[in-house]
């Protein structure tokens, strides 16, 4: 029997890159950090706050997200949105994800045959 610990590490590894993909998709509609966290959680992407906030900032520095301060609400919030560059990168990432899925399916079917 494989230990919980080992299983969790593998799942974590598998999930790691998908947070970026999920964020870039979700932020086609502008949102601020915590709201995004909740939306992602709602779609089954359980991300830690201390991972997501720094990640958003890094993606912004890389030019994949743009940001804008919204001061109309009760507290100032930084709204992020996927940039044109972000959209390009997202396209490549989604293609890669699909390719991985195809490869895995092919492998499974190949083994079965």
């Amino acid at each position: 029997m494989v230990s919980e610990e080992i299983l969790r590490t593998h799942l974590q590894e598998l999930r790691r890159g998908t947070v970026v993909v999920a964020s870039l998709v979700a932020l086609r509609r502008p949102d601020y950090g915590y709201a995004l966290l909740q939306r992602l959680a709602g779609h089954g992407f359980g991300v830690d706050a201390n991972t997501l906030y720094p990640l958003l900032r890094r993606l912004e520095e890389q030019g994949l997200l743009t940001s804008e301060w919204n001061t109309e609400e009760s507290r100032p919030r930084k709204f992020y949105r996927t940039s044109a560059d972000g959209e390009t990168v997202l396209g490549r990432l989604l293609a890669e994800l699909a390719a991985v899925q195809v490869s895995v399916t092919g492998l499974i079917e190949g083994v079965d045959r």
């Binding site: 601020y32 915590y34 706050a49 201390n50 906030y53 720094p54 507290r75």
Partner: protein
Amino acid sequence: MNSMTDRYLAATLRAAPAPRRAEIATELRAAIEDMIEDRTGAGQDPATAERAVLTELGHPERLAARYADRRLQLIGPAYYLVWQRVLRGLLTVVPALVGVVVGVLKATVGDQPGAAIGAGIAAAFQTGVQIAFWVTVSFAVLERTNAAPDLPEWTVDQLPEGPAERDVTLTDACASIALVLLLLAFLPWQHFQSWVADTDGRRVPILDPALWRSWLPVLVVLLVATLALEVAKYRTGRWTWRLVAVNAALDLAFAAAVSWLLLTDRLLNPDLVARVDWLREGGVGTVARTAVVVVAAITVWDLMESVVKARRHRP
């Protein structure tokens, strides 16, 4: 404003990248307040909610490191192997060398043969600590400046030559050589710095001083020859039958000489025996017999080991 959130923000920002500090502060504060609000909305009391949220965000410096994209490690995988190789290379050679040089200088120029071993060990230890510290600091700085000099890529040409399993490692060779050096150092030490003193406070040598004109030089020659053998063995990388033969000759000669001296009561200084009660009252025989057994055991073990290792490599 809640003081705990303030303290958390202050702790995080202290380690966050300076140019964006104010911005991170505003955003992080809003995020923390959002998270707290969410929990109080679900019926949690504000103090507990705040505590839970800050706990969830974790160690402030870890969070700051994530903002700065800084790795939490002293020496990362890019430099680790080079660091290890440099450190190992320096530590196997330099401290021992410095220790021997300092010890020899102390004994000759300093004219204090008794203090030589202690001084040598202290110098070797200090040198080792200094090497480890400065090498590690250099690599840690390199890791942080990102001023990466292009490290040469590994190529297959760097694979070690010869048999994959090297029987005689550098560590083994160094340990054996150190042991023989200790044995060599013991000879002058016991003469000048023995723990027994006579009535005038002069040290009484452990071994019979008369032996310096007969057998001790022979033992010294045998030990020096053993040193040469260790070096030759390391250079070859494994036991060959010729090395086994030389080793056996040296071992047997040393063991025979020491045993004969012990059993005929010639090794220990009669002056010492006269001064130590239990030696005088028959202890000499016990010491001699025990020592002979130990010498024989070590000799047999060493011979067997050399033969076993040589057979393993029979072509």
